[in-house]
């Protein structure tokens, strides 16, 4: 130990591996060092992203640290100077053979029908290091064959080799220790507590890391044999984290998505949404044909040439009377072409956000942080926005690791306790409408509570923001019932305390950062009058006022996603033509006049830009159904049809044009993205140029409770809704309040209450939520059973009142 400490930090650690003198890195784990140096030591329980436990004993190797050779688990050893390791000695081989025989004595021989068969570490190790035959003639252990431990995961305890990977993941990585070792000795098994299923957002990772077929995923069970699968590397596009994945198909169907270890992004982990959402690509009700309306207003199927011509006509009206909404679903290449096309057409009203995001100036006007910067040991992270576990779950895992293991200090500036609150060093639970005021009150001299936040917490936050180490603010939209200007104002106030802060965008929707980068934001049209470009909300308001003729929806469903429901309704009612380019029938396509079917995730090649500005590949693995085609082709064809040839006939030509014309993409090697697990970050250098918008928040009115509307991972979103394994997980709409509010109302959780607001009232089930401050009522957005958007208007906040439901 002391020898290691005394060695100069810059040099390698000399050691001998199978008679060859080699160098390990300082502090390097022996298994990692051997992997790097090309010597494989078999293992089951070791996983490079989790604490080693040395339980399976498969990696026993003979190690001599000066006291003679002894068998040691390689996974528990840090290479020390002059360590002599022999992975081929008689003792090593005997130990490996012995451990495998013991692992196999109780393992069932049902490999032919096991999902893992053919890609099973136990099979592979048994083949490479095992005894060849079993001397075990007794009866094997028996358990009930696979039991569901959650909606998505089955557990076959007979196959389990008790390596602690799934249980360790649940506890250490996900923070959801809902599966655990139960019983003892040879009867040890993994299980859940009765009626407490393994309902973790991250449960699918356990299936991926299970070294045997003990854990299987419901969406994949018996769908394919590993040797029939082919795969490509891609990026999860269901949220903006941009987790790296491998997508696998069999017989032209996507059957499985696996996490890929990107050091900079997701460390190999995925949320269940990223993992299983591919089911939507294969959904029955995909849009397969271009549609237009006949004289009776019914949809008729069109050929592309006809539909393109009709759509082109709509796009050739007065440019100021055309609006383009959406684009976050599109790959970067299609976003680029849409920006070019609208530039050519002079359309300045284009917005990839749907009124549920942030002013893009927040991202362009502040230094930008990477995930790694946020997770720098010793740094400070401020949560100013939604709960990352609900909106950006893979990012949540990185943040959780940072605050739980690496000493990153967390400040919550959120409407309620986040999923990381147990690690928070300062907890600023600002009432809706109060975030900016609270942020402005952060001071080491704070002496009075502000916006429901104690002076002590304000002072703690000031101290943390003033400490050494980088400060990163994760900025997102915490409350859809509150104006985003408050978030912007809060960020400016934080900057006053921590002038060196950088911003990590918390915008959640797919490739939204690519869309912003490509200019699908209001007022960024080249040559257009910047001020004239309207945001989504402004376009809808203009449409409602009869100032817009044509709305183009680029994979956007404003009927469901724009928080202000009344506004969308009146806009759709007033506008002459709605062109929807989408993959699914949605509430908005149902109201459209022209519908163009687009290829979905897994069907097209392209590029993703995540919330850091990091580029990664999107890959085609299966072909699109019917006539659905890639968004970039749709844009190119529309350009031709409107008389603006963009000069691109292939994806390669699109990319060449991008590299030439978009400054932040200069020098980007698109073809090299697949082989770069981290990927380049674009648009990193940004100076602080924000100023606080002024917002005046009215005092809480007679309704008494201020509304919080936020998202949960499982909602009635289009993709979740179309993934059969996930659809039923959608949150049911309830209104939750602090337990004290329930007591005041004299109701029990689960009772019906009447929620009164400006526009009327609605009866909902009520729930208690200890994470909520008093004075706040929370309703999840896009939950099953009630559209919270109907409560949201134009004001900066929404107030509601709860009453006991009249019988």
């Amino acid at each position: 130990m002391t020898a290691t400490e005394n060695a100069p930090a810059t040099t390698g650690v000399p050691f001998t591996l199978n008679g060859v003198e080699l160098e390990a890195k300082q502090g390097e784990n022996l298994l990692d060092a051997c992997d790097r140096l090309g010597v494989h030591i078999p293992r089951f329980c070791y996983h490079p992203r989790m604490t080693p436990v040395g339980m399976c004993r498969m990696c026993l190797v003979e190690i001599d640290t000066g006291r003679g050779p002894a068998l040691q688990p390689g996974c528990m050893m840090t290479v020390s100077p002059n360590m002599v390791v022999n992975t081929e000695s008689e003792a090593t081989v005997k130990a490996q053979d012995g451990v495998l025989e013991l692992l196999l004595i109780n393992h069932p021989l049902d490999c032919p029908v096991c999902d893992k068969g053919g890609e099973c570490p136990l099979q592979d190790n048994a083949f490479a290091y095992g005894p060849g035959e079993s001397r075990f003639v007794e009866e094997k252990r028996h358990y009930e064959k696979p039991i569901p431990i959650s909606d998505l995961v089955f557990l076959d305890r007979e196959r389990c080799i008790l390596c602690d990977r799934c249980t360790r993941f649940a506890d250490e990585v996900a923070g959801d220790p809902l599966i655990h070792f139960v019983d003892r000795g040879a009867q040890t098994q993994v299980n859940t507590f009765p009626d407490h299923p393994f309902s973790s957002y991250f449960s699918g990772n356990t299936v991926q890391i299970c070294p045997v077929g003990a854990l299987t995923a419901k969406p994949y069970r018996f769908k394919a044999r590993p040797w029939d699968l082919t795969g490509v590397e891609s990026t999860a596009a269901v949220d903006a984290t941009g987790a790296r994945v491998a997508i696998q198909s069999s017989q032209n169907r996507l059957v499985r998505v696996l996490g890929v270890d990107s050091d900079a992004v997701n460390w190999g982990w995925l949320s269940d949404k990223e993992r299983f959402i591919h089911e939507a690509t294969d959904a029955e009700d995909r849009l397969t044909d271009p549609l237009t309306r006949d004289d009776a207003g019914e949809f008729v199927v069109r050929r592309w040439t006809d539909a393109t011509k009709i759509a082109a006509e709509a796009l050739q009206g007065p440019a100021e009377r055309i609006g383009v909404i959406g684009g976050a679903r599109l790959p970067l290449e299609a976003q680029f072409l849409w920006a070019r096309l609208t530039d050519e057409l002079g359309i300045t009203s284009r917005d990839a956000q749907l009124g549920d995001g942030l002013d893009p100036a927040i991202l362009s006007g502040a230094p930008r942080a990477t995930i790694d910067r946020a997770c720098t040991p010793g740094g400070t992270v401020v949560l100013l926005g939604a709960d990352p576990k609900e909106e950006l779950p893979s990012l949540f895992l990185r943040l959780r690791h940072a605050v739980a293991e690496d000493g990153v200090k967390l400040i919550e500036l959120t409407p309620r306790a986040s999923s990381l609150s147990s690690y928070a060093k300062a907890r600023l639970y600002a009432a809706p409408g109060a975030a900016a005021e609270v942020a402005a009150a952060i001071s080491t001299d704070a002496s009075a509570s502000v916006g429901g936040v104690d002076a002590q917490e304000l002072a703690k936050a000031a101290e943390l923001l003033g400490a050494d180490g980088p400060v990163t603010v994760l900025v997102g939209r915490a409350n859809l019932a509150e104006t985003a200007d408050l978030t912007a104002a809060a960020l400016v106030a934080l900057h006053d305390v921590a002038p060196d802060l950088a911003v990590l965008s918390g915008l959640r929707r797919g490739n939204i950062h690519g869309a912003i980068e490509m200019g699908l934001v209001p007022g960024s049209a080249e040559g257009g009058d910047g001020a004239a470009g309207k945001s989504t909300e402004a376009m809808l308001a203009a449409a409602a006022a009869g100032e817009i003729d044509t709305l183009v929806l680029l994979g956007a469903d404003p009927m469901a996603d724009v928080p202000n429901r009344e506004l969308v309704e009146s806009a759709f009612a007033a506008v002459a033509t709605v062109v929807s380019i989408d993959t699914f029938n949605t509430a908005s396509t149902a109201r459209a006049d022209i519908v163009l079917p687009a290829a979905a995730w897994g069907e097209v090649d392209g590029t993703f830009c995540n919330l850091e500005g990091r580029l990664s590949p999107l890959s085609a693995k299966v072909t699109s159904p019917g006539q659905a085609r890639a968004d970039w082709i749709i844009a190119a064809e529309l350009a031709l049809a409107t008389g603006h040839d963009l000069g691109v006939g292939s994806l390669g030509e699109v990319r060449s044009a991008m590299v030439e014309t978009v400054p932040s993409l200069a020098g980007v090697d698109f073809d090299g993205l697949v082989s770069d697990a981290d990927g380049p970050v674009i648009g990193g250098d940004r100076a602080w140029s924000l100023s606080a918008p002024s917002v005046s928040v009215p005092p809480v009115d007679g309704y008494g409770l201020r509304l919080l509307v936020d998202r949960t991972l499982w909602d009635e979103g289009t993709m979740v809704h179309h993934a059969p394994s996930l659809a039923h997980l959608a949150t049911t709409a309830t209104v939750s309040v602090a337990p004290a509010v329930l007591d005041r109302l004299g109701v029990q959780p689960g009772d019906q209450v009447t929620l009164n607001h400006e526009n009327g009232s609605v009866d909902l089930a009520v729930a208690a939520d200890g994470r909520l401050p008093d004075g706040v009522a929370r309703i999840p957005f896009r939950a099953a059973g009630f559209d919270a958007g109907t409560l949201i208007g134009e004001g900066p906040v929404v107030d509601v009142r709860l009453d006991r439901a009249s019988s």
Partner: protein, 204 residues
Amino acid sequence: MSRLNAANVTLANEIISHYPKKKSALIPLLHLAQEQDGYVADDAMEHIAELVEVTPAEVLGTCSFYEMFKRHPVGTYMINVCTNISCQLLGGEELLHHAEQTLGIRPGGTTDDGMFTLEDVECIAACTEAPCLQVNYRHEYRLSTDDFDRLVADLRSGKRSDIPAHGTLGTVRQHIPADRRAGIKHPDDEGTPAWFASRQPAES
């Protein structure tokens, strides 16, 4: 069956206060639940999970590891016959066999009247007094089969009031009066005792 009752919640919080970290109280609290109900009910485990701030699965993981915790109701008297080596040498297995015959149950079973549960247990630290057994963890030593029959008869007829109900461990608990407590703190809040520094010779 049930969560901890109010008196036991008070006791539970006192027990929790004896430890630097709450989860350390898990085993004592499981004993408390078993003392209350005679076994550890699922509801009790959920309640304990709340008290020590872990998940029910973690409580189950601990609970199921230890033999004394019964997750289903057992007989009024749990009879644990030792058959480990010292007792085996002097008739422990024969004693167990006799118990099976007399009670009409196999180890792990409970008599139909709910009076006795029989277990075949490992060494209970009375090796010089073999063969031995425990009734609700109270030792009986050097038992002949006649002694066993007498014991069963006494238990049935209520003559053994010295043996408390299953689940009751020590009938005396440790109480640390607030004014006598040196101070038990979370490890993060604990440092070197002041007296230690002042009492060490200067050079160290």
